[in-house]
């Protein structure tokens, strides 16, 4: 079974949970920006959670899909439709006939994830199918999708087959059939200001009192110069008390570094492995899915929590994802 790209959208690429284990060779992790939505999309369609899916950015693609394909859409609501009929998200969808899945306007969020039962039949590079566009590796020919690309799918595994069998049993004349169960998500309607929780990073104390005050009490705008590598912020400039002698060291998903011009950069999926700018804070793991769903010109505010709280939130979320996986098995 296969997928033909009729129009690619703004930036649609194949991503999984990234290239793990090669950062010591400078290899960028890449992978989904919103790993939470990716993991859920896969879990809901019966794949292993780290299978590769399509990451769709702001303006979605139009895809020709064969009948018999099952998929799940999570993340941003980019108005997916089949023949003008809205396709529900956060639940499995089974195609009764060959169909064109088309995305429209972006209603909320920034990135949608489209996972197919079985996943993509493409080679792994360094253990991952993620596309790293700058080096031209992984995914489909190392690049974002283009018109007329054809993606083959692997045979679905047992869990997916169970889901497909249950859906296809419903006798329906519709082009597509959806499950009557789903997870309640997508309530991330655009707020005027999104609060992002952070913990202190290594050079936090090196910033002036005024800068730290501004960091926690003023709004920052996500600049138009933002991409999968990082979000640049505009707003109050952050200054060091005095220049800090920095030695390049590891950076992480969600690290907030501050170059000499005082405008912070949040490092994301395609971040470099190491960096030499002072780091003021680190976005807590559970809030990374919030920040990567914000679009340029949206506003954020930072709130400090303790590392212990961040860990607690992490474990709670992992338990939630695990509960969903168990739930899917029982459906």
């Amino acid at each position: 079974m296969s997928i033909t790209v009729l129009s690619p959208g703004l930036l649609t690429s194949i991503q999984d949970l990234g290239r793990v284990g090669f950062q010591k060779y400078g290899v960028i992790v890449s992978g989904a920006m919103d790993t939470y939505s990716l993991r859920l999309a896969n879990s809901l369609v019966g794949n292993r959670e780290g299978e590769a899916a399509l990451e769709i950015t702001l303006v979605g693609p139009a895809l020709m899909l064969n009948k018999g394909i099952a998929f799940v859409i999570t993340g941003a609501d980019i108005s997916p439709t089949i023949e003008g009929e809205a396709v529900p998200m956060w639940r499995p969808v089974y195609l009764n006939k060959d169909s064109i899945l088309k995305f429209g306007v972006c209603k909320s969020g920034c990135r949608a994830y489209l996972a197919f039962a079985g996943g993509f039949k493409i080679a792994s590079i360094m253990g991952s199918k993620s596309t790293y566009m700058r080096a031209g590796i992984g995914g489909y020919k190392g690049r974002a999708l283009k018109k007329n690309d054809i993606l083959e799918l692997e045979k679905p595994k047992k869990k997916s087959i169970d889901i497909i069998n249950k859906l296809s049993k419903q006798l329906s004349q519709n082009k597509f059939i959806t499950s009557n169960w789903y997870i309640r998500e997508g309530e991330n309607q655009s707020r005027e200001v999104t609060t992002i929780r952070v913990i202190r990073e290594r050079q936090f104390e090196n910033f002036t009192e005024e800068s730290i005050n501004n960091f926690f009490h003023s709004f920052f705008n996500i600049s138009i110069k933002s991409d999968r590598m990082g979000y640049r912020l505009s707003g109050s400039k952050l200054n060091l008390k005095e220049p800090v002698e920095m030695i390049s060291e590891a950076v992480y998903f969600g690290t907030i570094q501050v170059p000499p011009d005082g405008n912070s950069i949040i490092l994301l999926a395609d971040r470099q492995t190491t960096g030499g700018y002072p780091k003021i804070a680190q976005i807590v793991s559970v809030d990374i899915q919030k920040i990567v769903q914000l679009k340029p010109n949206e506003k954020i505010m930072f709130k400090e929590i303790s590392l212990e709280e961040a860990e607690k939130l992490y474990y709670e979320r992992e338990k939630y994802i695990n509960d969903i996986k168990i739930g899917v098995d029982f459906k």
């Binding site: 010591k24 992480y252 860990e311």
Partner: protein, 226 residues
């Protein structure tokens, strides 16, 4: 030595706050140890000049258990002094279209282009770390006679293989990327090899030597690699 928890899944082992070979050897010894004896729940590590970040899976191991583990590794660390280092020779076609800034480097240091080539290609460079981009080596040991500040405005694209100078550092760009280094030449050698293991020609601890080649040799080398 310091062990610092950074976030929910990372811990940093810091060996010092300066760049020198002594600290580099400790970084090396630590990496070698965890390569051979990765602990349960360890995902990967990211070595740098004077620190190593260890990434772990908090579902499999809690920080409270990692701290004593790392502490024990550090106490038993044995940085070897006389370890045989790998020497990697990298051919470089200096100047011309491959090295648009070589004249600037020469003028800045008040020497000739030939001298820049001679000095750059007679050095022995220690790979302190690989980072920033896939396979990108941070090299130490460049002569201050060819040290040159970065360009005031960075180039939007520096072609793959470019050999550059930034302050007291020299390095090679394994992939095309924007950058502000002074470009003095180019190598046909592939530093980033995504289809191979390891995917990087160089690893931290290697010694790099550059040797000059002509444009014809450059083209021939490129042809042979294909």
């Amino acid at each position: 030595m310091n062990i610092i928890q950074i976030n929910e899944s990372s811990v940093l082992v810091e060996f010092g706050k300066v760049i020198n070979e002594d600290i580099h050897r400790k970084v090396e010894a630590f990496c070698e140890y965890v390569d051979k004896h990765p602990f349960k729940g360890m995902i990967e590590y990211i070595p740098a000049f004077s620190s190593v970040a260890v990434i772990y899976n908090p579902i499999k191991i809690e920080y409270e258990k990692i701290y004593p583990l790392l502490n024990e590794i550090l106490c038993n660390l044995n940085p070897s002094l006389g370890k045989q280092k790998r020497v990697i020779e990298i051919p470089v076609c200096y100047g011309g279209e491959f090295g648009p800034d070589i004249q600037y480097v020469a003028d800045y240091n008040k020497i000739s282009v030939e001298e820049v080539i001679k000095i750059h290609s007679s050095g022995e460079y220690l790979v302190y770390m690989i980072g920033f981009a896939p396979g990108f080596p941070y090299l130490g040991g460049m002569s201050d006679k060819i040290a040159t500040p970065r360009r005031e405005s960075p180039r939007t694209v520096i072609p793959k293989g470019s050999v550059g100078i930034a302050g007291m550092q020299t390095g090679v760009y394994p992939i095309s990327t924007p950058g502000g280094w002074q470009i003095i030449g180019s190598t046909p050698q592939q530093l980033f090899r995504p289809e191979e293991y390891p995917p990087s020609l160089l690893k931290s601890g290697d010694i790099v030597k550059f040797y000059p080649i002509s444009c014809d040799e450059y083209e021939k080398y490129k042809g042979d690699e294909k």
